[in-house]
Symmetry: D2
Subunit: 285 residues, 4 copies
């Protein structure tokens, strides 16, 4: 497999941008293997994802970002990111006591389904250490109390820094992430919320759903922002229920939704197929 | 087709109730053609629907309710309703300006899909009179202002009374129904809300969904209660959307959801397959 | 509303085609309001849909096709079609005895939901004449027997020709369309099949689904080709069922699927958002 | 947790059966915790599932079957099975090379989600031994060739017998199960087929789906019978796809469907909520 470069960008839409970006690549002998774009006609913003093989590309990998910035991005006021397929993103998993999402993430990782490294799991409980050990992933225990929360998070962030973590997956982690950590990993913390957001924000959504008597329940994966359960939504899915369901059966049925919805979001993130704009996501296919 | 009786009831669950109710029917030579029951084990409530042919039934139709009350219902503290298939429920439709739900309801009615009478349509606008005329249904225009609302509703209720209306369908009717009318038709006013409740209560839910960036939209039919968009949910359905959708395309896609979800709810109501308890519905199959 | 031109094309993918097509439009002062493209990397085919306002376009409407053919299409071996928004496509509906799809199509038409003309309905039965009359659409009755089929179809085709029909919608029309008519309207005859194709091809698919004991049923709209129920699929949808369903309830539930799936397909066709290639469809958003 | 008895039965429907079965339990001081029934009115068959606590039950566990047979089953020509919650069913998993279903099954097992024992995994390849070892489950390797197939299956059956296996889950096992083994485990071998059956029976269904151009793909879990992919369907689910999907992305998306659909079926089987009749399943809630 050749190394590819993946370029994600958005900017005010003007004619010729797609051509100019394509030319930047092909003139320098990059072979384009993916191109998709979308224009938000309300705000007049172009969103674009382009991927090309680096084999014969004339610009060395370490200079691509600089060259693209100078030759294209500044000219069109682009926000952009460039990623190379031979640099696997490094992902940390945060868990508490529920194991279904963790099992699903580690199964896919172990099966080689994703181009990612998972060097560590962080938890505020010891419960899931055996799962981590089963899959051979280091497990770090940071019990959290009101008093020690700031200090523990500081230590967690040092660990994440030391391990070169690029993004964090909250796999049913039952602690609110502090502002400081969110700012350090903007649009790089993925949460799974066990409801069809924005319905049933906050605690015990299945119980809320039971009381409200809804006929369908859902799960939502989103980037974490300062507003609880209000960050950009990446993926949602739902399942039909009936009056026969109890809070317990909702929890059971919801687990499958949660793990699949979270893993779909993580997959899109790893593949660099998500752009975030105005608290919403553009998801490339 | 034989006339059938449909009995819907709920009561504290005790052993033998199903047998006793069945016996009440079979001893009196009723032929049971439908029996379904559900027990809420949390609240220990039995919900039951039973239907039988009246042909050889020993108790005359007009006395069934009284006999059942005396022989079964009082003994077990039942809430119950009895309906006969040869007495079609009479349904009023309330509309404003949007026609997709109205077309769907009248098409099914005209096609003979439902055992119902629709003697009238009420609107606060003249816009949909041509649709009513196309299907030959009397159309009553009651323009509503802050000043005249109470008086207009009073007249509407007189009309509904005069026409022997049993239940009301709000087919995208853009007025809040007053307390008085809700009390007159308890669990007999069906609304369609163009969101996946309880998400996006109130005005412009598709616009709210667009701003929030959800990946799935929905529609919800529910009985109208005093609390806005908070009555017992009868039916919900959803459709997947993407970042490419605009508020306009959401409105377009949502229309199909709304009309199908509303018609499913109306169908269940006409067939007497809904029991309401604790602001939730039990829907028989 | 300005008149727009809609250009649909596919051709072997080469670099620069999108730019060249865009330039053809913008150099001649067309304002592009829609552009979407898709590349099939297996067969290396580019599919593209582009739409622009004709207001200041330098090339007169009647010459656009010729100019585009000369300047772009031949060069890249394109298959293409050009359509103008002020020329509404003319659609014929074929029905037999079932009315739910017909009601849905005519409701949308009457509500002005689609940019289409429906000058006529053709049927092999008289049953649905009252529906046609209700909506004020001429209804032509061509009873079909083995003996008269060829002759009747000949007359139908004359009528279609006379009325300038562009495409045909088979709204549960229970006759096989002859080769001659299919060849006259290639990829312009839309059928709705009441199963999740390719499951349950042919007659009585709900009954087949009941016997097979499936847990989900579906409906499929597709272009008609010589092979029965095997043409390019435009749209499908499904609904969950249970062991409690009978062939009758499947028919009832399926009706809603059929009419929505058919109308979605018709909508895409009217909006010129479908390209057909290798017995498959590319559906633009 | 008290031990419960689970009774599943079907028989020609007659009045009073439900009462008589209930009485059999309550007279003998069993506390009923679940009762659901369904009548197939076409064939006039009653299907019933009833569960009760054994704590004070007067009939000793080992005699329940015999007593019920004598007192109820013979009288009404019932087919029935009785299971006790303290006797966990023993399940064998058969795999070949694909690991996603295996990971999902073992994750749920390890998490204690199911009341089941999994004493062994059988495979015709060595590939998944590391997965089995990770979860600490014995892994038996039986390579299959045309020549040795009968003999290998004989040895597998001896192993299954020795280990007291009650049912088998084919988790993407790529060998046809022989008649002999099917007869030994009637309605106790669960397969996952990676299509929406009966569409795309046999090999490479995703590739078939791609070629046919369907807009939705599915997965089906079913009991294995002599007819390939034609046994009673337990569960199905689907996911929407587009023209952008390739056979590879279908395989990827399908994996999630397969594992969830298979695990739902296994769960229903373990909970004794499936009755099989006329090559169809009745699934209790």
């Amino acid at each position: 497999m050749n190394t590819t470069a993946k370029l994600l960008l958005y900017c005010p839409d003007k004619q010729g941008i797609i051509t100019e970006v394509s030319n930047f690549i092909t003139i320098n002998r990059g072979n384009i293997v993916y191109l998709d774009q979308y224009v938000d006609h309300v705000d007049n913003i172009l969103f674009m994802r382009i991927e090309w093989e680096m084999d014969n590309f004339q610009i060395p990998k370490e200079k691509v970002k600089d060259y693209f910035d100078t030759l294209c991005a500044k000219k069109y006021e682009m926000e952009f990111g460039i990623y190379f397929s031979d640099q696997k993103p490094r992902m940390a998993i945060f868990v508490s006591k529920l194991n279904h999402c963790l099992f699903d993430l580690l199964s896919r990782y172990t099966a080689g389904e994703w181009d990612v490294e998972i060097p560590l799991i962080i938890s505020n409980h010891e419960d899931l250490r055996p799962v981590a050990e089963r899959f051979g992933i280091p497990y770090y225990y940071y019990p959290i109390t009101k008093e020690n929360k700031a200090e523990q998070e500081r230590q967690e962030m040092e660990l994440l820094e030391r391990e070169g973590i690029n993004f964090i997956v909250l796999a049913r982690y039952m602690q609110i992430i502090s502002e400081r950590m969110i700012e350090r990993y903007p649009h790089n913390i993925i949460n799974i919320h066990h409801s069809f957001l924005p319905a049933f924000i906050g605690a015990k959504p299945y119980h809320q759903a039971f009381v409200r008597g809804v006929k369908i329940i859902g799960a939502t994966s989103h980037y974490v922002t300062q507003d609880l359960d209000a960050g950009p939504i990446i993926e949602q899915d739902v399942i039909r229920i009936t009056h026969k369901d109890t809070p317990e059966t909702l929890v059971y049925k919801g687990k499958d939704l949660e793990k699949i919805v979270l893993s779909r979001a993580v997959n899109k993130h790893i593949e660099r197929k998500i752009l975030t704009y105005k608290n919403k996501t553009v998801i490339f296919s």
